[in-house]
Amino acid sequence: MTPDEILQQLTQRFGDAITEAEVKGAEVRATAKAEVAWEVCRFFREAGFEYLNCLSGADWTSRLEVVYNLSSLQQPAKAHLRVPVPREAPVVRTVTDLWPAANWHERECYDLFGVRFDGHPDHRRILLPEDWVGYPLRKDYADERMVPYTEYGMEEKLPRAEGEKPAAKAPPRPAAAPAAAAPTTPPPEAPKPS
């Protein structure tokens, strides 16, 4: 099936539950409501997308989002499915029954975003310790150990303690790399194993 055909069938079958849909190159991009997320995933699975490249989350401050990147080993079409979930009760049905690959991805998404996957066979944190508090990839997660972002070259404008000198700027790089004197040679007569 071409991406256009997939898109047509998708909108036909799910109607209003697909809030956004477009084709970009070989990729079908769609946004589906959380209630039908699993059914939409099954539709893609049956349409030949047997390979789950990636499952990840995103935090849009007003809502969370689960993102599925699907592809196939038979056809060049790809799919990019976004499922917004409410921040207060982020729950979506697991897709481990469609793609077992989702198991660890969903655990990671739960670990870092706090999205719950209903029916997951092994719903635990994966990267962080089990007793960790909070979900680090949410935008409102705060940790005093995090280093703030600064524009490159703006280091001297950072607030600093009384009497502290501004950090020295790195000298400019020489324009051309000195050519020769590259001791890279594989030894011409390396010992020959017998």
Binding site: E50, N53, C54, L73, D122, Y141, A180, P188
Partner: protein, 384 residues
């Protein structure tokens, strides 16, 4: 699985209640400090006598929330962090990352830079596979191959050092090009290396491939059927070792890979042996690509014109490339600001490791190291 979900203290061996016929069912921890787990990975093995009946991997010991760091850095500042993902293939990590940002920006990279990228990434693939081959031999009790592989890897590291000044974390790719051009004699040195390297491959064969003891250890062990491999989204040599001809350099070409002639080695015995052979053959194919790229290397610019502060237009994309371990994906969301709104790494070894329990079930305990070795994990990118 459910009775295993409660974690036991590290290093404990617990005798379990006898169930059914079996008299010797027990849990054993392998790792996190174990020489054959290649880093800090902990495997909880459920044993029935000498046989593994279940396995639960515990990861995350190296977790540093790479993705959160990425959200607090500019697009250029992330490049050195990508080195630390898969520290045995930093060039490939750089490659995948800068390529995804360039796609987001719609940026065209100069020809010479593209060739440099391919040459370095393929040398990196050889170096990564060499290290894998050496340590895999070591895992299975063949020490000699380790020394041989490190001899050749050392030469590649020398080449990388001449180019970038670094031996492990290069940070050599830039958004829109490369940091510097090759030094003057570098292309010649690289050719000489390839000349030296090619006849070495039969030496490895003599040491390992034709070694009957080695064959007995790996044949028929850790079977991963093609169907399971696809369901678990295994990639790279794991997929090709299960008989699927799937290589992103060929099936979804990026950069300039469509200009080179190379074969995609595929073996369909689905075991550790097949994955070993795939990696062994890939080294020869990578050498072929480097040779062609060196012959075609054009002169010219190595850096496209990019603004000082990189602000890709708002949008999102998932870009994938073939790292030595499989499909490396970067999922980026840009909101038009100098730092990514969301930065996600789909690390190949993370997904490949998730299929390990499937391969281990029914294996002998002694084969666990061989199966784990054949996945070729790097904890730096698994734990992120």
């Amino acid at each position: 699985m459910s009775e295993m979900s409660a974690p036991l203290p590290v290093g404990t061996t617990v005798m379990m209640e006898r169930t059914g016929e079996s008299m010797e069912e027990m849990y054993v921890n392998m790792g996190p400090q174990h020489p054959s787990t290649h880093g800090v990975l902990r495997l909880m093995l459920k044993l029935d006598g000498e046989y593994i009946t279940d396995c639960v991997p515990y990861v995350g010991y190296l977790h540093r929330c790479h993705e959160k760091i990425g959200e607090n850095r500019s697009y250029t500042q992330i490049i050195p962090y990508t080195d630390r993902l898969d520290y045995l293939a930093s060039m490939s990590m750089n490659f995948g990352y800068v390529m995804s940002v360039e796609r987001l920006m719609g940026l065209k990279v100069p020809e010479r830079a593209e060739y440099m990228r391919v040459i370095l990434a393929e040398l990196q693939r050889i170096a990564s596979h060499l290290l894998w081959l050496g340590t895999f031999g070591l895992d299975l009790g063949n020490f000699t191959i380790f020394i041989y592989c490190f001899r050749e890897r050392e030469m590649i590291l020398d080449l990388f050092e001449a180019v970038s000044g670094q031996r492990l974390n290069y940070s050599f790719y830039r958004i829109g090009g490369m940091a510097m051009d090759f030094p003057e004699t570098w292309v010649e040195d690289c050719r000489r290396f390839l000349e030296w390297f090619r006849p070495r491959l039969p030496e490895y064969d003599a040491l390992l491939t034709d070694n009957i003891l080695f064959q007995k250890r790996v044949q028929g062990v850790g079977v991963l059927p093609a169907r399971t491999a696809v369901e678990y989204a295994a990639s790279g040599p794991m997929l090709r070792g299960s008989g699927l001809r799937w290589d992103l350099r060929r099936n979804d070409p990026y950069s300039i890979y469509d200009r080179f002639e190379f074969d995609v080695p595929v073996y369909d015995s689905c075991d550790v042996w097949a994955r070993y052979l795939v990696r062994r053959q890939e080294m020869a194919q990578s050498a072929r690509i480097v040779e062609q790229a060196l012959a075609q290397l054009p002169a010219g610019e190595i850096q496209a014109k990019v603004p000082k502060t990189i602000k890709p237009p708002a949008g999102q994309l998932y870009a994938r490339s073939e790292s030595p371990r499989g499909e490396l994906g970067f999922y980026l969301i840009s909101d038009g600001s100098p730092k990514p709104y969301r930065y996600k790494v789909r690390s190949p070894a993370f997904v490949n490791l998730s299929v390990l329990p499937e391969m281990l079930k029914g294996c002998l305990v002694a084969d666990c190291v061989a199966v784990l070795g054949s996945v070729d994990i790097v904890l730096g990118e698994i734990d992120r």
